[in-house]
């Protein structure tokens, strides 16, 4: 019953895995760069009473090292994760993000910048190639652009997702509307934002059109937005990996490795529920259509909408 379906073409698979490596390196080397000055501000500068949005500190107290994270003026004890965390040698190190989350694992701003500003080029080139390829092959318009029907099914799709009901059959061959909107926001909003805010931190690129950085609130605001966009992408990655695992890890992995995805068959439509006390207006059942023809309002009609996961779109 189940069938293999060619889901991802080779260029998409290649660019996907390049992006996995590049994004992870960018994020982790970025955390080392953040560790050099673990405070985020809003505005042009960091001093002269600039608004602090986030600050991560490590302090030595009589009770040992403590990590403190201040977000919007509220301070939390984050010992063990942020500010003060176990190092690889059995001790505790005072630094914003711990060693296992950074590249390199030791603190070296110089080396982290070399990683960041080499992989930056891979991110930009891979991203541009992906967008150009997707436009040229109409991958964007065919697979990612939401249709009117899609947009009308946002709410039902949300309900399906929170109930972990995932499409089968024909519906599983297309992205659902939430996938489309999420992927589009990653491709056309979050990645461009993280890259643009990176550019905004470059004093040379700021000179391209003096003042353009103020459109985003100033250089320190750009640094904050760079961080926010990076963590939005991390949140996307976490959700993406979670869904990859929960919707069939090996099947999903295969579709991104050799391109083939096994589509689960449609669920057999449940037979009409036998009601002990048939309603007066019970319509005659046509046994050949599996009990689909029901008048609205009957229990069977309710049952068939509940089965949307199998037959939606």
């Amino acid at each position: 019953m189940s069938q293999l379906y060619y889901r991802h073409r080779l260029p998409v698979r290649l660019m996907h895995w390049i992006n996995v490596v590049v994004f992870v390196v960018m994020l982790m080397s970025g955390l080392t760069i953040f560790n050099a000055h673990p405070t985020l501000y809003w505005g042009d500068e960091s001093y002269g009473g600039a608004t602090k949005l986030l600050q991560i500190r490590g302090v030595n107290t009589d009770d040992g090292p403590v990590g403190l994270t201040t977000l919007f003026g509220r301070t939390f004890d984050t010992t063990g994760l942020l500010g003060a965390a176990p190092n690889a040698h059995g001790g505790v190190t005072l630094r914003a993000f711990p060693y296992w989350s950074t590249i390199p694992s030791f603190y070296s701003l110089a080396e982290a910048r070399r990683w960041h500003f080499f992989f930056m080029w891979l991110l930009i080139v891979n991203g541009l190639l992906y967008v150009l390829w997707s436009l040229a092959t109409r991958h964007l318009s065919r697979d990612l652009a939401p249709t009117t029907t899609d947009l009308k099914s946002i709410w039902p799709s949300v309900k399906d997702h929170v109930r972990f009901r995932h499409p089968r059959g024909e519906a599983a061959k297309h992205y659902n509307v939430l996938q489309k909107l999420t992927y589009l926001s990653v491709i056309f909003a979050w990645f461009p934002l993280v890259i643009l805010m990176g550019f905004a931190m470059s004093p040379m690129l700021d000179a391209l059109a003096p003042g353009w950085v103020d459109f985003f609130g100033g250089r320190q605001s750009a640094r904050t937005l760079h961080f926010v966009a990076a963590f939005a992408l991390l949140a996307f990655m976490a959700l993406h990996v979670f869904l990859v695992i929960t919707t069939g890890l090996w099947n999903n992995m295969r579709s991104m490795i050799d391109g083939h995805y096994r589509v689960r068959p449609e669920l057999p439509v449940p037979a009409a529920p036998v009601t002990e006390f048939p309603p007066i207006d019970y319509a005659p059942v046509d046994p050949t259509d599996g009990g689909r023809t029901r008048r609205p309002g009957s229990r069977a009609a309710a049952a068939s909408t509940a089965d949307r996961a199998g037959s939606k779109q």
Partner: protein
Amino acid sequence: MTDRVSNGSRRRFLRGSLAGLSAALVAGCDRLGDTSWFGALLRSGETMTRATQRLIVPRAALAQEFTDADVKGPFRSNGTSHPRSTTYDALAANDFVDWRLHVDGLVAQPLELSLEELEAMRSRTQITRHDCVEGWSAIAKWTGVPLADVLDRAAPQPNARFVVFHCADPKEADGTEPYYESIDMIDAYHPQTILAYRLNDAPLPIGNGAPIRVRIERQLGYKMAKYIMRIELVDRFDRLYGGNGGYWEDRGYAWYAGI
């Protein structure tokens, strides 16, 4: 009850294996970063960035300038706040009257300029944002003589490619490891590149590089050497100190600091 325990241990196992996976990943990256071929590959990013930025940003494009209202506080002192040098202390004790800026190397006319002579030259005042490699920024008002004017007086030879700043501050307590920096002729002749002797309408304080520091507004802070004693024009900098063109460059930082 048993469920809760197994949930807890499962969560601990999951968290442990995630952190373990990540720790193995960063250990691998550390090892990769130590190999020379990968180090060279990473460094190629600097070349690409420099070439691209030089291509798309016009030579004379100005860094953003701000207004007096944007100067909100005293400018912080970063790095050396007072050079550990008796020579420097003697100069400072006499308000740098005896200080001379030496301009030499590949120039037709070597110079020795006093602070008074520099102050008598054409000056430029600019309110700009200082961006540190660490990530912070600070806005301040700088007054100084355009480096281009000083270089014009010294008449660089055609083979001069870099301007090297030799500074009064040794970075080690024993007086070794002097701070130095170098820039190319594009940055040297940029209209906002000045030898600043005033900060926020007052003489440049010792904490910020008295008697002069260079402002290179489209580069990061570490390029903008303080306590300048000598400006040397060279055709290559690989024979100076660590060979990478600057104190921080010899410690792994990029020579091109436009990003």
